[in-house]
Assembly symmetry: C2
Homo-oligomer: 271 residues x 2
Amino acid sequence: MKIRRSERMVLISNYLINHPYELTSLSTFAERYESAKSSISEDISIIKRAFETSEIGDIETITGASGGVIFTPSISDQEARKVAMDLCGRLSESDRILPGGYIYLSDLLSTPKILKQIGRIITKAFKGQRIDAVMTVATKGVPLANAVADVLNVPFVIVRRDLKITEGSTVSVNYASGSSGRIEKMFLSKRSLKPGSRVLIVDDFLKGGGTINGMVSLLTEFDSTLAGVAVFADNVQGVRDEMSYKSLLTVTNINIKDASIAVQLGNIFEE
Amino acid sequence: MKIRRSERMVLISNYLINHPYELTSLSTFAERYESAKSSISEDISIIKRAFETSEIGDIETITGASGGVIFTPSISDQEARKVAMDLCGRLSESDRILPGGYIYLSDLLSTPKILKQIGRIITKAFKGQRIDAVMTVATKGVPLANAVADVLNVPFVIVRRDLKITEGSTVSVNYASGSSGRIEKMFLSKRSLKPGSRVLIVDDFLKGGGTINGMVSLLTEFDSTLAGVAVFADNVQGVRDEMSYKSLLTVTNINIKDASIAVQLGNIFEE
């Protein structure tokens, strides 16, 4: 379809936003909007300037026959910190403390607007690294993995704590569960992860690290490697040095008696 | 910040895409981009024409002091059918049949690009209806509910089949599980759903309808009402008249001996 330049720019930006991390040739746009490649190229430089000035993301132009443009979503440091500070406030609400000193956070991890922002903050921390898939453990990690995979435009895989017939054949590993203090099993469907994948592990809460260590050993079973670990919140108390991870928020203290939770920005904002 | 008109249009479209179903006043944009409201208004009419011609979505303008613009994402019928036909092909792959006649579909429901499109197709089918939350059951329904909630810009709630301490107090109901042939329990955290909500129930696969009936009875416990039911695929064999639902795909036959699955477009494409 032939359209006015201003409308074409709106449509090209919409396309790029919906196809992050994907190479699209200028000819694709030129054919789609019946325009010269030189006009498309000008449109893209305007979109690039707008996106980069507002830190919506970067647009990379790859020249040559198999070239094109790739949009990488981002978030400004200022907005990322604002989002995280808001979440600090939400997470410190005293009525989040559950029996046993657990923290209720399902509401935060089921709000699309929050998830989108978390997705951008986490992926920004792994910028420039190859990531083929995002892995998490059912159930609370799923929306988070979904959000991160959404930004990266890669599939996510869900490790389960129980065996479900609808997953087909699975590979299982044992792991030491910090919460139950026992050895438990986790399962991953054999066909869910391609061998040789570089995987980003994502979870809602990091405490003892048992679940994440379990997922890391699953990666070996799938001949895959770890690209990194990112969590919504951590409360690690000592194991911090044993495992390299990035967290959005750090819970420094949970006082059940006073019903108070102390939360600060996580190590993703360090340096 | 003061920017050129073409860049401003790119930024306003990006903003609208990321804030669906949200009323934004023209003054917000006018202040943000240091422009006259009349210029913003012209920008929006160009964006509106581009979005509506390509069926990316509608932009509604509400006049008056508390007015502004609302973007409602959509998908063209042609694209929706293309997506669903592709999924028909994927779902018919013979190696998806699992022991017991189950179908493996985790890979389809963990690919962000597919989920985004499904989200748009499902929400389009409920256009114009008030929906306050999307409900699903763990685990496989979660990415689907997330995708639909994402388009609608509302929270999603996750019903669980097991009791988890991290959910706090829960409400439980019994339901007849078709797959086990027994009465089972499902749980929903008390604080996850506001009373008086109109809820869209979403699930991956509809067979006997037990799980969905369970979720419907949970709605009553939360003084909430059903806005509708949408599933990725159905294979209902007879109960079709008992329950009103919309499906993207319909599995008409699973032949374990021949390892063949017959799939057609679901009733969301009817009429």
